[in-house]
Symmetry: C5
Subunit: 157 residues, 5 copies
């Protein structure tokens, strides 16, 4: 049985990981779940890499929330660079599921909608990457969005 890793933070303003676990369990897929919670997003890269290397996870979902200040955006940039390095060093996909407060400043309803939509869709993406990778190619170049409605796409030639 394969394993899926979930890395998340105490800093985030909502428990995205719990929702992800619910989605995974409801999917009926046979998967062992390992979860590691860290203080903030800059702690996610090594947490995700350890889930791959020490828990043998075949894929990891890394959930984070980015505060509204400029320094928070810099932290997110550092975390993303680190998560991509973690992927390259472990040859394993780590989906970077970040929600930025700036996406919905002062609009709690919109923020919650983004949080749910992005979490659900990326969790399903992770399951598809494990169990149905061809289904991603079937949707290639179709402007899929996580956190909002898909956008309009174009036919080439």
């Amino acid at each position: 049985m394969r394993s899926i890793g979930i890395a998340d933070t105490m800093f985030a303003k909502a428990d995205m990981a719990a929702l992800a676990i619910k989605i995974i369990n409801e999917s009926g897929k046979r998967l062992k779940i390992f979860r590691a919670t860290v203080p903030g997003i800059k702690d996610l890269p090594v947490a995700a890499k350890k889930l791959v290397e020490e828990k043998k996870c075949s894929i990891v979902l890394a959930f984070g929330m980015v505060g509204r200040e400029e320094i928070d955006e810099v932290c997110a940039h550092e975390a993303n660079i680190g998560l991509i390095q973690a992927e390259l060093l472990s040859n394993t996909h780590i989906l970077k599921v970040f929600v930025h407060e700036r996406e919905a400043l002062g609009n709690t309803k919109k923020l919650l909608s983004i949080l749910k939509d992005r979490t659900i869709k990326h969790t399903k993406n992770a399951l598809d990457m494990l169990f149905a990778p061809a289904s991603l190619t079937a949707r290639a170049g179709t402007a899929q969005r996580q956190g909002s409605e898909n956008e309009k796409y174009f036919k080439l030639g």
Copy 2:
């Protein structure tokens, strides 16, 4: 028979990879094609590295589209840093074929033209790098552009 890898995304607003595969097939070159589709551009680096290391691809084309927001440009920067690292860790060229929405804001015709031109020319570049590397040196310093007409160039000395 050598292999070529194609990594692309569901986020993009057009299926550049399908056009690239058409170009490769029409070239008559004997090449096995492996394709991996991921959610977004930050997922491309490890996808490309896995095509090299697990599928033994001799070169990879990584197709991505960059949204119009500042955060999208930051993602592209992170993806490019990761793709270059993937090249260095695998000693294999990964052509970074990105189209930015900001290149043609509100101009769908121009956007489609860039998408087609850049995809076609970079796919031909990849084929030349595999089968005719000297042909690139023959065009060195001649202001070759992908996505638009070539620019004017200068003679040195």
Copy 3:
């Protein structure tokens, strides 16, 4: 007996490491403490990695203070990228405990409050990561803050 590493700087305007050591000692946890002091924050990444690899520390706290100028913020960015790389290369958590002067310009009282609160809470986080990792998951997504009061958080679905 496990070991905890503490890396800090001569540049900082307060001795956060001494406070951290006091917290660790008062915790009653059986832990050997190794400390390395360097000139500035850009020297922290290799200092922290050496604490892991040469002193066998199971976790490291890296304390730094960031000056008020733009160049200081760039240094902090470089240090953070390096600290995350050090974590990835050693598969060990290094908590990045940085206080920025810009957080409390011209307000010494606020600066001291941030220094103390962030140092104490991150030291406790490190102890929890070693001795009670499940306690972090119990607080996942609850907007925990180090340096100030926690923020308001939301229930998802």
Copy 4:
């Protein structure tokens, strides 16, 4: 006999590599030259690393031109980070010879002057690094410039 590598691009608006090869040949030094031409500057890091590792080059000159747009400057930044990583992974110097269009906007004569001066001087630097490293120390701290006249320098103490 040692080897020198030359990596350059089709994107550049002048053939700096040809001028460099002329300088190397006129120097009378016994050196085998290997050249790799790639599409653009972001392809230079792995090309340079392959020249070191696969062609056993003792040093590499990497020539690139940076367009006038902000996105071009970002590409140059990514390429430079990659070239420095290539040096660290191969323990070999790769001289980063980049000319930015912004250095001489709308002034072709100045652009050509920079292109020639920088190419010639950095090619000679590479030869000195191979055959006369002490000659660089003899010029240490003397405000040497490639692309323009040297600047004024100061005596310390």
Copy 5:
């Protein structure tokens, strides 16, 4: 007998390395000195790493000067990222001794003062890191500055 490495550039407007060597010799410490001079600051990371790995230096001082233009600041950022990577790959401290022209624009006297003070203090820091590391901890959190007077510091708790 241990060795200390010194990496510096021809680009700098003053010979900081010569002053550092004078300080080291006057210290009476038994140390072998290895020096490598390169064209500019982006060449320092691999030069420093080679001093560690090929000359077995126990510590390295990397001296550089940063020009007044924005592009120079970008180069310094790239060099610093590379120097930190060199430290992580070699598990050895490389002190990054950079002077920025922007610190003293149009004020030669101030520039010279910064150059001397930063060079002397960081050279002494390097000696202390080799021969008296506890003396750095004794000064932890005391706002030590290189290039100017120390700043005011605070007692915590």
